[in-house]
């Protein structure tokens, strides 16, 4: 997982949270807000929108903030990735269905337990027309792996990288690493044109610098503070996947302004930060909404403060929580009640196996039944009611308000008392690093996601050494199973281990999962083709956008 924008959704709304909420209400011509909306029926769910019928000249896309830099080794978040996924290609390629295939590397083979060999394509050219060489690839990988680089954690197990042939790079790792190839479809696998990067020096990534990549679109112009334009790359090496559009303009604004830009037809699309934003857009006859898999889940994360260190209290609260109510009230029905702390976007392989294992999980009902409540009360009785009330942290934004209230309600139903403490939103992210802040609350709610499509990438967070395992959960054999899963490159075997980890984690309710927030795309009805899954962060989605009519 990369620099997360998790801290940003609330940071961004900041001072004008009231304004945003207000607009959502009036843009929908419905002062009642999202709570009043019925469950949507016209939102399709799947990895992509229907295929484009033909090319289009150009379109305008909204993002929620101006990118900070296009040197993704310095930093990257949603804004940077949404744009650069179209500009920069990687050794591997993430597909809309969130699986990974070879790309700039025509193959990637494990030749031993600890060596992986990349055979590079010979026909790739960068945007300035120069051909990609193995030297460029090696240099790029070393740049990503350098200490302090944003992607260096992806290379943590790498002990050596070398050019072992005209078109071949061999990577040696400390241990077998099942995630490594997936990581090469992310920003850690971007191949840069060394000549261009070095010519720019420290300026690389700033508004005046050109891109140094190959890809269906290239960076045309970044007018700082105003907009960014990509244009179709001339003579793109992969002609079958050339861009259908000649130009894309990116503009940025807050959620409310994005809603207005889409309804007025000033912009043609946006990947929405929160499904809640889609509420008012559903009323527009010019805009279509689609959703697809992501790994994002809102959870209530238990801290080491005390009351929730007893697993039975966590289980009881999980059983009593009204997830359906949260999905409806906080997200207008566009989020899904969820039983695990990581979304279905993580099922990047063996999807049916993961799906049926998920169905079989218990302990996190959509809405608590009488039976669930009875079970929960019994657990509380066994554990004993904590001397002090359970404290849940809020930040005053609408999603957390709903989740905190739901937790208080759940506690009341099963004979516990819970209260809400409000923490300034600017400080909320510090829960992960500041033990004294965690001492103020038993639970804090947050949206968590991982950038790789593998549940193992999440469940390593339950290892006894993990930073976010605040309740010191130690599952029997769990740590070893994590290590084994990370080293298992066979998909079926890894899925089996991942499901065992999932079962142990969810049985112990290390965090209380609440709702899965799918990737949500809003697009003008006359264009189509973009993926609706979270793949837009790494897959060249804009190249697929075209006219919906022939």
């Amino acid at each position: 997982m990369k620099r997360n924008d998790r801290f940003k959704p609330f940071a961004r709304t900041g001072v004008i949270a009231g304004a945003a909420a207000f607009t959502l209400a009036i843009s929908a011509c419905n002062a009642a807000g999202p709570q009043a909306q019925s469950t949507p029926t016209d939102v399709s769910f799947g990895p992509t929108t229907s295929e484009a019928a033909g090319p289009i000249d150009s379109f305008t896309w909204m993002i929620t903030q101006e990118p900070a830099t296009f040197d993704l080794d310095k930093d990257s978040g949603t804004a940077e990735n949404t744009i650069m996924s179209n500009v920069c290609e990687r050794l591997m390629k993430l597909q809309p269905d969130l699986t990974t295939t070879p790309h700039l590397a025509e193959s990637a083979e494990w030749t031993s337990d600890t060596t992986v060999v990349f055979t590079l394509r010979k026909d790739v050219t960068f945007h300035d027309g120069t051909p990609m060489t193995a030297d460029d690839v090696l240099w790029s990988m070393q740049r990503h792996a350098a200490k302090g680089a944003d992607e260096s954690d992806e290379y943590a197990n790498v002990t050596d990288m070398a050019k072992t042939g005209e078109n071949q790079i061999t990577v040696t790792l400390k241990q077998r690493d099942a995630i490594f190839l997936q990581a090469m479809a992310g920003n850690g696998g971007i191949v840069l044109n060394r000549k261009v990067v070095e010519a720019q020096g420290a300026n690389f990534g700033s508004p005046s610098a050109p891109d140094a990549c190959s890809g269906p679109l290239k960076l045309e112009k970044w007018s700082a503070g105003s907009n960014i334009t990509l244009t179709k790359a001339a003579d793109y090496w992969d002609a079958d996947n050339a861009s259908l559009t000649s130009a894309v303009t990116f503009r940025w604004a807050d959620d409310n302004a994005i809603v207005n830009a889409l309804t007025s037809g000033e912009a043609q699309g946006a990947y929405l930060d929160s499904p809640a934003t889609a509420g008012p857009l559903q009323k527009s006859d010019k805009v279509q909404i689609a959703q697809g898999p992501s790994t994002n889940v809102w959870s209530l994360i238990a801290t080491e403060r005390g009351a929730l260190n007893d697993e039975r209290i966590r289980q009881a609260l999980s059983l009593a929580l009204n997830r359906q109510g949260v999905a409806q009230a906080a997200f207008g029905g566009l989020a899904k009640p969820w039983k695990t702390p990581v979304g279905p976007g993580a099922w990047g392989y063996e999807e049916p196996t993961f799906s049926s294992a998920y169905e079989a999980l218990t302990g996190a009902p959509t809405q608590p039944s009488e039976e669930d409540l009875k079970k929960a009360k019994k657990l509380v009785q066994e554990a004993g009611v904590p001397a002090e009330p359970i404290v849940v942290a809020n930040s005053g934004d609408s999603i957390r308000n709903v989740i905190s209230s739901a937790l208080v309600e759940a506690a009341q139903k099963i004979g516990l008392t819970a209260e809400i403490v409000t923490i300034p939103r600017q400080q909320y992210g510090d829960f992960y690093s500041d033990a004294s802040l965690r001492a103020q609350a038993d639970l804090f709610s947050d949206e968590y996601y991982i950038s790789k499509n593998d549940p193992v990438g999440f469940y390593k967070n339950g290892a006894s050494t993990a930073r976010v395992n605040f309740v010191k959960f130690i599952g029997e054999g769990y740590d070893n199973k994590v290590k084994e899963a990370q080293a298992t490159t066979d998909d079926a075997a890894r899925a089996k281990l991942a499901i065992e980890l999932e079962k142990q984690w969810t049985d112990a309710v290390v965090w209380i999962p609440v709702a899965h927030t799918p990737a949500t795309i809003a697009m003008a009805k006359d264009i189509t083709g973009a993926p609706s899954s979270a793949s837009f962060l790494y897959y060249p989605w804009a190249a697929d956008v075209g006219s919906s009519k022939k």
């Binding site: 997982m1 990369k2 620099r3 997360n4 801290f7 940003k8 940071a11 961004r12 900041g14 001072v15 004008i16 304004a19 207000f22 607009t23 009036i26 843009s27 903030q65 101006e66 900070a68 830099t69 040197d71 310095k74 930093d75 978040g77 954690d153 990534g205 700033s206 508004p207 007018s223 700082a224 503070g225 105003s226 907009n227 503009r251 940025w252 604004a253 807050d254 409310n256 302004a257 994005i258 207005n260 830009a261 309804t263 007025s264 037809g265 000033e266 923490i423 300034p424 939103r425 600017q426 400080q427 992210g429 510090d430 992960y432 690093s433 500041d434 967070n461 993990a466 930073r467 976010v468």
Partner: protein
């Protein structure tokens, strides 16, 4: 000469004190920049936290950090943004034009409308026009600018499609078109204040003896107003206009957010939320300086408009 020197010394002192207060306030504010700089909670090991703190001098005592910053700022280096990895001066340079254009347009609007309505109100003192203007401006002043902004957007942009929804536009005419609604939203509250001050100041002047005297000599009403009333009433009006403009330079944030304009106000709020200290420092410093410049300008212009002040200055 001595007056100018004390004045400059005073300004420098104000800058030093205010910049230190801003600096200290940022540190007292809840939240830690390290959280943003590291980002990924899984990477928040004590070692990494210490490393990042050292890299950005965040492990130094407050006064040392202030010293490092001030000595650099003194030679014109405002530092590098934590978030954008760009020199803060460059960031400011790309954001300022939108904000300045917005404030300039709003100022023209509120000065013309505010002074105009104020004069009209004063001349129709006690009549229906007067009470209508007072009531309307009171209402306008009580509605927050973001609410006005949202209403304007939903009517004139979304429903009628006459104006763009967001952005600041490029090129002169496009910019005028883009900033028209935000400027109106920003100006509405100020119209009320300025019209009120104009009215009050005029009413006071109208009741003065010399005005009465001039009127009894049979001076034409228009001339009377121009020469005797308005001329003497300018002082408080100008002071109020200047204060409003100065506060607008610092207060565009809400309107910028509603209209999706990447201006200085938006930059400041984002920087506060991400604890981007160098940017917060620079933007607030810009605000302090513009405030000082505007108020100093008013002090300089005042005597030119009102000879009585000049005369008083000479005597003292």
């Amino acid at each position: 000469m001595i007056r100018a020197a004390t004045r400059i010394a005073g300004m420098i002192l104000t800058l030093v004190v205010s910049s230190f207060v801003i600096f200290a306030a940022m540190y007292a504010a809840p939240g830690d920049p390290v959280t943003f700089l590291i980002g990924n909670p899984e990477n928040m090991t004590p070692e990494r936290v210490a490393e990042v703190k050292a890299q950005y001098n965040l492990d130094q005592p407050l006064i040392v950090q202030y010293g490092l910053w001030a000595s650099q700022a003194f030679v014109g280096n405002l530092g590098t943004s934590f978030q954008y990895h760009q020199p803060v001066a460059e960031l400011m340079a790309t954001r300022l034009p939108a904000t300045l254009a917005l404030v300039a347009m709003a100022s023209v609007l509120f000065i013309v409308a505010g002074v105009g309505l104020g004069i009209l109100s004063a001349l129709r003192q006690g009549k229906r026009t007067d009470s209508t203007i007072t009531a309307a401006t009171t209402l306008a002043a009580s509605v927050p600018s973001f609410v006005i902004g949202l209403l304007l957007v939903s009517i004139f942009s979304v429903q009628l499609g006459w104006f763009p929804v967001s952005g600041a536009g490029e090129g002169f005419l496009d910019r005028l078109h883009h900033l028209a609604l935000p400027a109106v939203a920003l100006a509405v509250g100020a119209v009320a204040i300025v019209s009120r001050v104009t009215r009050q100041s005029m009413v006071e002047q109208i009741s003065m003896d010399h005005v009465e005297a001039a009127r009894s000599f049979g001076l034409a009403p228009a001339k009377l107003i121009r020469r005797h009333v308005l001329r003497n009433a300018w002082g408080p009006i100008l002071t109020m206009v200047a204060l409003v403009v100065a506060s607008m330079l610092a207060g565009t944030v809400v309107v910028e957010s509603v209209f999706g304009i990447s201006g200085v106000g938006k930059l400041l709020v984002d920087a506060i939320n991400t604890h981007d200290f160098p940017v917060v420092q620079a933007v607030l410093l810009y605000m302090v300086i513009t405030y000082m410049v505007v108020t100093t300008l008013v002090d300089l212009v005042h005597p030119l408009l009102d000879p009585r002040i000049k005369a008083k200055d000479k005597k003292s």
